[in-house]
Assembly symmetry: C2
Homo-oligomer: 458 residues x 2
């Protein structure tokens, strides 16, 4: 499968035109950029950190191949001097980041990159592309997990994720957000995620009768029989599945479960449970799929749905109710000078920063403070860790199962009121440290004065 480090040309043209102008103007001073989310999307009041592994891999491998340079030369936009600079270009900067699986909140830097200006600038497009998708999906997945808790969820989204890279990253990020498995076989191989799946409606339809299809599948996979019962009529399908389950029982085998994929799942799951129990198949599980997300899970369960596990597909895999987050990568310091952007009405936070997390005596999350990187708060845990120095990753990244545990542990410490899947009241408290506030005010004042002094000439 693809590595996002596959091509240095996978970027916005303006990264390269800016680099060329920085190069011509000999602007090589150190710069720091912050990656953060400007607003909560609908219904969300926390984010799950994810995507760091891919960002670091990209930064370690970024280079321009002779073919890349040849293409850039042919565009006629770039000088030979700049192209030969790119030939030797490597990312040699430092990265501080909140580890994958941790919770974070609006305006908190998920990542800060410090490097020579060009190096820190040209990586923008891919850094956002990699982190944005996985944060969005891990956050969406966590909402489904919360709604279904403690039932198991399996990622079924592969067919409608946006392309192949998303297919892989959604499997990974939904695992971080608490899912227990995926239908994506390659994700099973690459990431070690448990893989699930049995049959589609077309399998049933390929046989003359439903019962022939069920029996054939039970012969092929006697240890792993989950029968899809809604191809023609769900309850009639459930009765036929129960009959096959009884036949299996007589041969010393067990029907693992049935899958419902359409209709009124709350009602159908209850009737299906009765059918299974009357047939002596009390241990068979009921697996539901078909258009599920956190809202439909909550709805079905609130109406008494008797479901053991959910297959959660498209709506999770595209984060359907919030298919993008307002994630930005902004210059916060150049040549030792703190900088910020004023124009949008939403000020960005200047300077190199740290996020400090405070807990209550009962181990609940209490508040965060965004401060300067060298701020010191005894009781607050600094969340950003140095993960790369001079272009080399300096930490051993944890395996996916550990990241998932980090997430589930910390999520259990977050107050329920921030986890409601619909818009709730009150955001998790995030303060700005006094020292950061001072610098911020100072820079804003300077910008306002400079802006006044330099306009109105024309």
């Amino acid at each position: 499968m693809e590595k996002i480090s596959g091509s240095a040309l996978f970027t916005d043209l303006y990264e390269l035109t800016m680099a060329a102008s920085f190069f011509e103007n000999r602007m090589f001073e150190p710069a720091t950029f912050s990656l953060f989310i400007r607003d909560y999307p609908p219904g969300r009041r926390y984010f799950v950190a994810a995507g760091l592994a891919d960002v670091l891999e990209y930064l370690e491998n970024l280079k321009f191949t002779p073919q890349d340079l040849e293409y850039l030369e042919k565009t006629g936009r770039f000088t030979p001097e700049f192209l030969s600079y790119l030939e030797n270009f490597r990312f040699r900067g430092d990265v501080h980041a909140i580890p994958e699986g941790r919770l974070f909140f609006v305006n908190e830097p998920l990542l800060e990159v410090s490097a020579s200006l060009i190096e820190a600038q040209v990586i923008e497009t891919v850094v956002i592309n990699a982190a944005h998708l996985q944060v969005m999906i891990a956050t969406k997945a966590s909402r489904c997990v919360h709604a279904a808790w403690p039932r198991n969820l399996v990622d079924f989204s592969l067919r409608r994720t946006h392309g192949t890279d998303a297919g892989m990253k959604v499997a990974r990020a939904s695992t971080i957000g608490g899912f227990t498995g995926t239908s994506n076989v390659l994700a099973g191989k690459v990431y070690g995620i448990p893989v699930f799946g049995t049959m589609a409606h077309s399998f049933i339809q390929s046989f003359e009768n439903e019962i022939d299809a069920f029996r054939a599948f039970a012969r092929t996979f006697p240890e792993n029989v989950v029968l899809l019962v809604d191809t023609y009529d769900t309850l009639s399908g459930a009765r036929i599945a129960a009959q096959v389950g009884q036949e299996m029982g007589r041969e010393g085998k067990k029907l693992k479960g049935v899958r419902l994929d359409s209709g009124n799942i709350a009602r159908l799951s209850q009737s299906t449970r009765q059918i299974l129990q009357k047939a002596g198949l009390g241990e068979a599980t009921i697996f539901a799929s078909g258009g599920f997300d956190e809202y439909k899970i909550q709805d079905v369960l609130s109406r008494g749905g008797d479901v053991d596990s959910f297959g959660v597909g498209t709506k999770m895999g595209v984060s359907a109710d919030a298919p993008y987050f307002d994630m930005a990568y902004k210059l916060v310091q150049y040549a030792g000078r703190p900088v910020l952007k004023l124009s949008s009405g939403k000020e960005t936070l200047a300077s190199e920063k740290q996020v400090f997390r405070f807990k209550t005596s009962k181990n609940k999350l209490k508040k965060d403070i965004i401060g300067l990187r060298d701020d010191d708060f005894n009781e607050g845990e600094p969340l950003l860790k140095k993960v790369m120095r001079n272009g080399k990753t300096t930490v051993k990244l944890p395996p996916l199962t550990r990241i998932r545990e980090f997430f589930l542990d910390e999520f259990s410490c977050l107050d329920e009121k921030y986890k409601t899947i619909k818009d709730g009241e009150g955001d998790y408290p995030v303060e700005i440290s006094p020292r950061l506030k001072d610098i911020q005010n100072q820079v804003v004042r300077q910008l306002r004065m400079a802006s006044k002094g330099k306009t109105g000439k024309n």
Copy 2:
């Protein structure tokens, strides 16, 4: 960059478990599957065909590597006989498809695959994954193009597309839907799409003053100066840009334009135009970006926005108001027997099919008829072409620029009432041919009878 043909394991597990059971039951008869969209997503009443090139490439290259087979063996689910069948597996079927760039409508098969049952089944996940994204994006892009017509649109979505593959495919599909360029450099190289981009806010901020930044950029790219004017204050930025434009004029150069990226674009673009004209820069263009999609384009233009081109980013690149389409790949025929799925309340259309398109004497699209593949309608153009035989592509696929022209040509023949970007009244007429209707009724009757005869035992 990645090829989706990169791994045969990039699929849902159930494709492989079904294949294993078909294999054990010696079910190798010919099957036909249809790819179609079941419903119009909000606001849409047509679709743009796209993604075929990737589907064909995948089918031609699909095979299981020794490493794939090793992983499958380790799962313990599959027999040695089936694994050695997979070792020699190739797709050797036929494909009929509606060419890229053509319009199509609900329930019309975009693609029909005829092959031995296992071959036609296991490709499901990737066929949907590839076609779904590009149809969705080409359709979304066409709506933006319609709202902005005849202004130029440039794809700016790369940073927030869902992963890297989507970054590439969105650039391609938005070109099909009528965009004129992209910011994605690699898409420029791979697909030959014109590439656009100049500077971000961070470029401006890296200089002490806005005017220094503008002058520096003008020195580096004298032929291609589009100045981003909203970093501090848009109109003050526009005046400074005009000043730099006049300086350029004195050196015999031309300011190409300015870019507005925030604020009230309708109002700001008018004021910016005045500033440019007063400075004698009447030819400089105004480029607007920042949260644009078809709705915001329509809004800004309806309020008198004076914009020459739009950069359209995130909301197009994720199809934000409809981030998934209900696209399905369903078995319609097996071993010569037409089949369909009843359960969902939405019948699928059985049998191998063709779509016939009728035009009025004034060259407007009049109606479509979905018929049997061997139906014959003198005046209707059959849309599905045979594009693959025995696993080999049999047609020369047109270049992207031609596909874009196909689209723009046919789109101009579609009645305006089907192009409104909000929900309108009345769908484009799509009929079912009498012979298809007969077969359909017959299969439904048989299924209902079979289903009655075989239930209620338990």
